[in-house]
Subunit: 192 residues, 2 copies
C-alpha cells in the first residue's frame, strides 16, 4: 500500500496532485459523481484549471484515483480495528463494532460509498476498485477466520451496514451479534 | 399492494401519470438521478411538459413515486419466487437462487438500486422507501424463517448480491449455500 498523503502544502506544491484527489472526494460527497467537473475540483483544491489536465488524463482517471484513495483509507481503518483483536472472540467483537459503531457513522463515507457503487454498477471499469477493496477486507478477516467464513462475514458486514444506514428504524445490536455467531459457529479459526 | 400498472395507452390517456412514472425510471437508469429532469422524463413519456407539474408536485415527488414503484416491482418478484417454496429447505433454495440467478441479472435493476441507495444516503426522506422495501422482504422471509433469521438473511442477500455484482471475479455458489445454511442452522422454521 502506498503511504497516506501528507498534509497538503498550500502553494507551489509537490503535493498538488494529492490535494486534487482529496478535493475530488469533497466535491463528490457534496455534488455527486454526476455533478463533479474539472472546474469544481480545481476550485476546491485551489489550483489552476490547467493542473487538472496536467495531473490526470481525464475525469475517469481522476475519479479512479479518488475512489481508490477512499477505498484504501476505509480499508486501512478496518485493518487497524481488526489488528486490535487477538483471537476469534475479540475479532468477532471487532466485526460487530464495525457494523454498529463505525461504518457509515458519518454521512460523507455513506454517500461516497454509494456514489462508488453506483459508478461501478454503471461502468465495470470501476469494479477493479470495488474488487480490490473486497479482496483486502477478506484478507483482513482471514487473519482470524478461514476463507469461506471471511467471505461470508464480508458480505454480511456489507448488508448489515447498508440496512442500518438506509433504514429509518434502529437496528438491534442483538441481530448483528447473532448473525456473526451463526456464521462463525463451528468454523475453525485461522492462525494469526 | 396496488396492482401493477396496466400497459400504457399512447394518447389521451387516463394512464398518463403511470406512464410518466415508468419513463422516469428509464431516464434514471440511463442518466442517473442527477441527470433526470422534468423535460427529459416528459420527452421519454411522450407527454407535454405541463403534464409533469399537473401530476407531480416536484422532482422529489416524481422520484419518490418512481423508486417506490421500482421497489414494489422488485418485492413482488421476490415474493413470487419465495411463494413457490413449500418448506424451509425449498425456501433456502429459493433464497440461494435469488442471489445467484435473479437479483441484478440485468444492468437496469443494478443501476436503479444503487441510484436509490445513493439518493437515500443523501436524503433521509427517501429512507421511507428503503425501509418499506426491507420490511416487505423480511415479511416474505418470515413465512419460512423466524424473525431474527429473516432479518439476517435479508442483510445477507443484500451483501452477497452487491458483492456479486460489483466484483470482477466470479462468486462461488458454494459460498452462497454455506452462508444460508449457517444462518438458518438450528433456527426453528416459522409456520407458513
Amino acid at each position: 500500500m502506498p503511504p497516506a498523503p501528507a498534509p497538503a502544502a498550500r502553494r507551489h506544491d509537490p503535493e498538488r496532485r494529492d490535494r486534487i484527489i482529496d478535493a475530488c472526494l469533497d466535491v463528490i460527497a457534496e455534488s455527486g459523481v454526476a455533478g463533479t467537473s474539472h472546474r469544481k475540483v480545481a476550485q476546491a483544491a485551489d489550483v489552476p484549471l490547467g493542473s487538472m489536465t496536467y495531473h490526470f488524463s481525464g475525469m475517469n482517471d481522476l475519479l479512479s484515483e479518488a475512489f481508490s484513495r477512499f477505498a484504501r483509507t476505509t480499508s486501512n481503518a478496518f485493518e487497524e480495528r481488526m489488528a486490535a483483536a487477538h483471537d476469534a472472540d475479540t475479532a468477532k467483537q471487532a466485526v460487530a463494532d464495525t457494523v454498529t459503531q463505525v461504518v457509515f457513522s458519518n454521512q460523507r463515507d455513506l454517500v461516497l460509498t454509494h456514489e462508488l457503487y453506483t459508478l461501478a454498477a454503471r461502468d465495470p471499469a470501476f469494479r477493479d476498485i470495488t474488487n480490490a477493496w473486497m479482496a483486502r477486507s477478506r484478507r483482513t478477516l482471514e487473519q482470524y477466520f478461514e476463507p469461506v467464513t471471511a467471505r461470508i462475514l464480508d458480505a454480511l458486514i456489507e448488508g448489515l451496514t447498508i440496512h442500518r444506514a438506509l433504514d429509518n428504524e434502529p437496528q438491534e445490536t442483538a441481530i448483528v451479534t447473532a448473525a456473526i455467531e451463526r456464521i462463525t459457529a463451528g468454523s475453525p479459526a485461522a492462525m494469526r
